[in-house]
Subunit: 216 residues, 2 copies
DNA sequence: AAAAAAATAGGCATAAGAGCCTAATTTTAT
DNA sequence: ATAAAATTAGGCTCTTATGCCTATTTTTTT
């Protein structure tokens, strides 16, 4: 069988090492490169042409989803498996929009990782059982019970929330984005309604959970 | 050689699986248990008595550092290796105060994990090269430039910060703690000065990092 | 016993945010 | 083509927070 060439994009060296170790026991899989951030990834892809990229969302510099979009645009043949701890609706929605080939949670088992790789290698789409439920729910509620579920944030709303969670005040955000203070306030209000959030501290927590900012 | 019995406490199943896989190749090391949060860990330790616990800080429910303190108090013979992505002064300080036996970053390599386990097994203390520099720096500033380093919060200040990070407003906190609004404000002001924090969002992040509240 | 830190509380002026609207323009989806 | 959503912006009132002080009592440390 032809070796299936995989590139690892993940900022924690330990996790990269562990995945490499464990994939060695699968004969036809071959790790042909590894990078620690999104920019290095795009640079490496110019020379190394893997069949698949396993991509962590929570990387410094460029988010995994941004990187995924670029990869699927520049190298449509290359498969992308997102590996992430995040299971928020925003992440799911944006990952699906980026046309990734698989979405695996870090709370899944190693055998699920193998399963994901094999499924994608066969040309199919992989989602972990844990989030497939979420997608069904998301789709179901989108059609029938719009109000029950917190809606996905828009691009601009995510931008505003990200800045807010990184410590910018509404006033500072309006200066940054070159929009009026009223607009920022309107966005904040919409964000809170969409997420059913009352308190600002929960906005920060939501942003952390969603990977828009980090605690560090 | 006697097998060295290790328990894994880490909320991501994938990482647990990968560590287990990779440790299998080291003959005398044996993974005798695994848990996904701090409460399960303390429960499991009642029956399983491992020589070492490998402990992730960022777990839901109870922070790794709190868990570490309890372990070192209840089972002083049990070695604790902290495995974390955080390298802030607060984390280091709290980890050292909890008397853990090792502190390894997720950006270290797998060989460093082995090295850490072996070092601790021989009764010595392990810190990763990346953070040993930080500790030296921390010690240096503690002796000579006290003002540079953020001071520890008092019990009451931690109480106030915890409630704040959990979404309570200063007014609500004053009702909860049966003290006046002015007092809460005074505490908040002191907290910010001690931590050199300007923005409220950073207060939430600090509380999360310190384990006073969780993102979930 | 003396000193330092912690916990308590208040004043006062200014700045900022929250809640709750309306509404126009643009973009996207159906 | 039509509808829906997103993005923009403003008004108005009320509440809340902020910054920067002072000051007393209690607790802890030296």
């Amino acid at each position: 069988m032809m070796p299936y060439r995989i590139m690892l994009a993940e900022d924690h060296l330990l996790l990269r090492d562990l995945i490499k170790n464990s994939l060695k026991s699968v004969p036809h899989l071959q790790v042909v490169g590894e990078v620690g951030d999104g920019l290095d990834l795009l640079e490496s892809l110019k020379s190394v042409k893997p069949e698949m990229v396993i991509l962590d969302i929570g990387m410094p510099g460029m988010s995994g989803i941004e990187a995924a979009k670029k990869i699927k645009h520049d190298y449509p043949e290359t498969k992308v498996l997102l590996l992430t701890m995040y299971k928020s609706k925003e992440h799911l929605t944006h990952a699906l929009e980026a046309r990734v080939d698989g979405y695996l949670l870090k709370e899944n088992a190693f055998k699920d990782l193998i399963n994901a790789i094999e499924t994608i290698r066969e040309g199919r789409f992989y989602i972990s059982d844990i989030i497939s439920k979420k997608i069904v729910e998301l789709f179901f509620y989108k059609s029938h019970h719009e109000s029950q579920v917190s809606k996905a944030l828009s691009e601009r709303e995510i931008e505003v929330l990200t800045h807010y969670a990184q410590g910018k005040s509404p006033k500072e955000i309006s200066d940054l984005l070159l929009i009026s203070y009223s607009t920022v306030r309107n966005h904040m209000s919409k964000i809170k309604k969409k997420l059913s959030i009352k308190r600002n501290t929960d906005l920060v927590k939501h942003a952390i959970k969603s990977g828009y900012t980090s605690v560090g």
